[in-house]
C-alpha cells in the first residue's frame, strides 16, 4: 500500500510542478510577449515579424483598458509590450509600471508625425515611455433608414423616438463622456455635482438603451438591430463597408479623441525584443498593411503617403479635418479617487 500512497503524492507533486512551469519554446532569437486589444492587428504582420527577426511572438489580447490594468499591476503575467490608451498610460506611469523606451532601438520612430508625439507629452511629459500606434475618435454611427433626420449631436441618445434602438458603450469613462458633454462639461470632469448631473442623465436614458456593450456595437449596427450606436471611428469604417445605410458622425458638441500607444511595462523580460517589435510596427509598409486590415487612423505619416486610394484619404471617419478634432478632447487619468467616483456612479446607474 505504500506504493499507492507514493503514487498519489507523486501525482500531487506533478500537478503542483506543472502548475508553475508553463514553458513555451522560444524562437532562435528569443521571444516577445505582446498584449494588445482584440482584433487590433493584421495577424500576418505577426508572422512577418517572426520570419524576419527569428523572435517568437506570444500574442494575447484584452478587451478593455480596465481589464488589462490589473493584470499588469498585479504582475499576473510577464508582458513585454502592451498597447493601452492614453489615460491608462498615464495611470501606469503614476504607478511606476512603465520602463523608458530606448529610442536608439526604434529608428522608425521618425515616421510618426510629430503632432502625435506632442499628444503623448500630454500624459507622458518627456515622451519617453510611449510610441503611438493607432488613434481615432468616438462618435455616433446611425442607420439612415431607421432615423427620421440626420444625426448631428448627442441629443439623439435621449430621444424617446429611438427607445430600444440605442446601443451605448459599456465602461464608465466612455459612457459618461456623452452625458458630461451634453451637460456642457468636460469629459475629464471630477466635480461631484457635474458627475452626478451626468449620472442622472444616464439614468434617465437607461430605459431607452437596448444594450450596453463595447464590441458588439459593430455586429448590431451591421445587422440593423439598432438605429444608433456609440462607436470608435475605426469600427465605423468597417461597418460602413458592410452596410451602406450606416453613417458616422462626430457630434457637434464635441467628443473624445484617443490615442493608443505601445509601452513597455516593468514586467518586461525581453526589452530589446519589445523595442524591435515597436520599431517594426512603425515601419511604413507594415503600418500600411495593418491599416488596410483594421482601418483605424494611423499616426504614421510615411505610411499615409503610401495610401493611393482617394476614397480612403477622403474618409472623414479615418482622417477627420482639424475642425472636427478641435472640438474633441483626450481622456486624462483622473486619479484613484475620481476613478472610484466614476465606477460607483456607473454602478448606481446600472442598479436603477
Amino acid at each position: 500500500m505504500k506504493k499507492r500512497i507514493l503514487l498519489m503524492c507523486g501525482c500531487l507533486a506533478a500537478v503542483l510542478l506543472t502548475a508553475g512551469c508553463s514553458g513555451s519554446s522560444a524562437g532562435e532569437n528569443g521571444e516577445v510577449n505582446v498584449y494588445n486589444w482584440g482584433e487590433y492587428i493584421d495577424e500576418d504582420v505577426i508572422d512577418i515579424f517572426e520570419e524576419e527577426t527569428g523572435i517568437k511572438v506570444n500574442y494575447k489580447t484584452f478587451d478593455t483598458n480596465e481589464d488589462m490594468y490589473p493584470i499588469i499591476a498585479n504582475g499576473a503575467a510577464d508582458w513585454d509590450v502592451v498597447c493601452p490608451s492614453e489615460y491608462m498610460i498615464q495611470k501606469m506611469l503614476d504607478n511606476d509600471l512603465l520602463l523608458e523606451i530606448d529610442f536608439d532601438n526604434v529608428p522608425n520612430l521618425s515616421n510618426i508625425d510629430p503632432i502625435y508625439m506632442n499628444t503623448v507629452k500630454e500624459f507622458d511629459p518627456d515622451a519617453s515611455h510611449a510610441v503611438p500606434y493607432l488613434w481615432g475618435t468616438v462618435g455616433i454611427l446611425y442607420n439612415e433608414t431607421m432615423v427620421d433626420e440626420p444625426i448631428t449631436g448627442w441629443d439623439c441618445l435621449w430621444n424617446e423616438k429611438y427607445a430600444d434602438n440605442i446601443v451605448m458603450m459599456n465602461n464608465p469613462r466612455d459612457v459618461f463622456a456623452p452625458a458630461l458633454i451634453s451637460c456642457g462639461y468636460s469629459l475629464n470632469s471630477t466635480d461631484d455635482g457635474e458627475l452626478e448631473e451626468a449620472a442622472a442623465l444616464l439614468t434617465e436614458q437607461k430605459p431607452l438603451v437596448l444594450k450596453y456593450t463595447t464590441d458588439e456595437v459593430r455586429d448590431m449596427m451591421i445587422g440593423e438591430k439598432a438605429a444608433i450606436g456609440v462607436i470608435y471611428s475605426g469600427e465605423a469604417t468597417i461597418c460602413k463597408d458592410e452596410n451602406e445605410n450606416l453613417q458616422y458622425v462626430v457630434p457637434e458638441e464635441g467628443s473624445n479623441v484617443w490615442l493608443d500607444c505601445w509601452v513597455i511595462p516593468t514586467t518586461c523580460k525581453n526589452k530589446e525584443n519589445a523595442e524591435k517589435w515597436i520599431d517594426f510596427l512603425c515601419r511604413p509598409d507594415i503600418a500600411l498593411k495593418n491599416f488596410e486590415y483594421i482601418y483605424y487612423s494611423i499616426p504614421n505619416s510615411a505610411a499615409i503617403e503610401m495610401i493611393e486610394d482617394e476614397d480612403i484619404l477622403n474618409n472623414e471617419a479615418l482622417f477627420p479635418d482639424t475642425e472636427v478634432l478641435s472640438r474633441c478632447e483626450t481622456f486624462h487619468y483622473l486619479g484613484e479617487e475620481a476613478e472610484e467616483k466614476y465606477n460607483n456612479l456607473w454602478k448606481q446607474v446600472l442598479s436603477e
Binding site: 502548475a19 489580447t61 504582475g75 503575467a77 456593450t213 458588439e216 451591421i222
Partner: protein
C-alpha cells in the same frame, strides 16, 4: 387515459424547454449566413472551417486534456479520501465530509476568486525567491480537480457503505496482501461508484466556465472561456459546429451504454 396523455404532454414540454436551445445551436451550425438572425441556406462550411481554426482546436485540446486529467486525478484522490473518511470516527468523518462538500455547495464565483487570490499571492510570494509562477494550465487543472473532488466522494461513499468489510478481512486471512485484497476485493465492489465519479467529474470539468474564468490567467483558454471572449466580437459559427459534434458524439455513446443494461448501472447509479 387523459391523465396519462396530460403527463406525457407535460414531460414533452419540459424536454422541449431543455432541448430547444440545443436544437437552435444545431440548426445555426448549418446556417450559411454568418449572423444568427437570418437563415442563409444549408451549408457545411462551418464544419470545414472548424478544422482549420487553430484557436478553437487548441481550446478544445485544453478543454479535453483538463477534463481527463482533472477527472482522473480527482478520482484517485477522491476514492482514497472516501476510503479514509469511511474508516474515520463519526465526528472526524462529518468534519471531513463538510470540507469535501465546500467546493460543491459554495458559489462558483466565490470559489473562483478564492483561487485567484491564492494563486496570485502564491505567485508574488514565490517571485521573492526568484521562482516564476503564473496562472495558466496548471492552475486551471488544480481548480478543476478541487471542484471535482466532492462529486467523486459522493459517488464512492455510498458504495463503500454497502461494502461488506468481512470480505476484505477474509481475503487478508486467506493470505492476500493488503494491496491484493484491496484491488481484488474492495475495488471491484466500489468500481461503479468510482466510474460514475469519474464521468461526473469529466462532465463538470467540461462544462465549467466560472472557475476557469478566474484562474486561467492568460495562458490556458478552454472552450468556455474562448466563447466568453468571443461574445464581444460575435460567436464564430465554427463554435456551433464543434458543440454539435461533441453533443452528438456523447449522445451516441450514452445511448449505446444505455442500451447495454449491465454497464448502464455502472455509469449512472451512485
Amino acid at each position: 387515459m387523459m391523465k396519462k396523455l396530460g403527463r406525457r404532454f407535460y414531460l414533452f414540454l419540459i424536454i422541449l424547454f431543455l432541448y430547444a436551445p440545443i436544437g437552435t445551436l444545431m440548426v445555426l451550425s448549418f446556417n450559411d449566413s454568418r449572423t444568427s438572425v437570418k437563415w442563409g441556406g444549408f451549408s457545411l462550411k462551418w464544419y470545414q472551417r472548424l478544422f482549420e481554426n487553430d484557436t478553437i482546436l487548441a481550446a478544445l485540446g485544453n478543454t479535453l486534456l483538463i477534463a481527463v486529467l482533472s477527472a482522473a486525478i480527482a478520482t484517485l484522490l477522491g476514492t482514497s479520501a472516501s476510503i479514509a473518511i469511511h474508516h474515520m470516527k463519526k465526528r472526524r468523518q462529518s468534519i471531513c465530509m463538510s470540507i469535501v462538500n465546500i467546493p460543491m455547495l459554495n458559489a462558483e464565483i466565490v470559489t473562483g476568486i478564492a483561487f485567484m487570490l491564492l494563486f496570485i499571492s502564491a505567485g508574488n510570494l514565490l517571485s521573492i525567491f526568484g521562482i516564476h509562477f503564473e496562472m495558466g494550465f496548471g492552475t486551471v487543472l488544480i481548480g478543476h480537480i478541487t471542484f471535482n473532488l466532492p462529486y467523486v466522494v459522493l459517488s464512492v461513499m455510498p458504495k463503500l457503505k454497502q461494502l461488506n468489510i468481512s470480505m476484505y478481512e477474509a481475503a487478508l486471512d486467506l493470505g492476500a496482501g493488503e494491496g491484493q485484497a484491496f484491488f481484488r476485493v474492495v475495488l471491484p465492489d466500489i468500481m461503479p461508484g468510482v466510474l460514475s465519479g469519474f464521468l461526473l467529474s469529466f462532465t463538470m470539468s467540461l462544462d465549467d466556465f466560472v472557475i476557469t474564468h478566474f484562474v486561467k490567467g492568460l495562458g490556458a483558454d478552454t472552450l468556455s472561456t474562448l466563447i466568453y471572449s468571443e461574445l464581444r466580437k460575435g460567436i464564430k459559427p465554427e463554435m456551433y459546429a464543434l458543440s454539435t459534434i461533441m453533443f452528438l458524439a456523447v449522445f451516441l455513446v450514452l445511448v449505446f451504454v444505455n442500451l447495454n443494461p449491465r454497464e448502464q448501472s455502472a455509469a449512472y447509479r451512485h
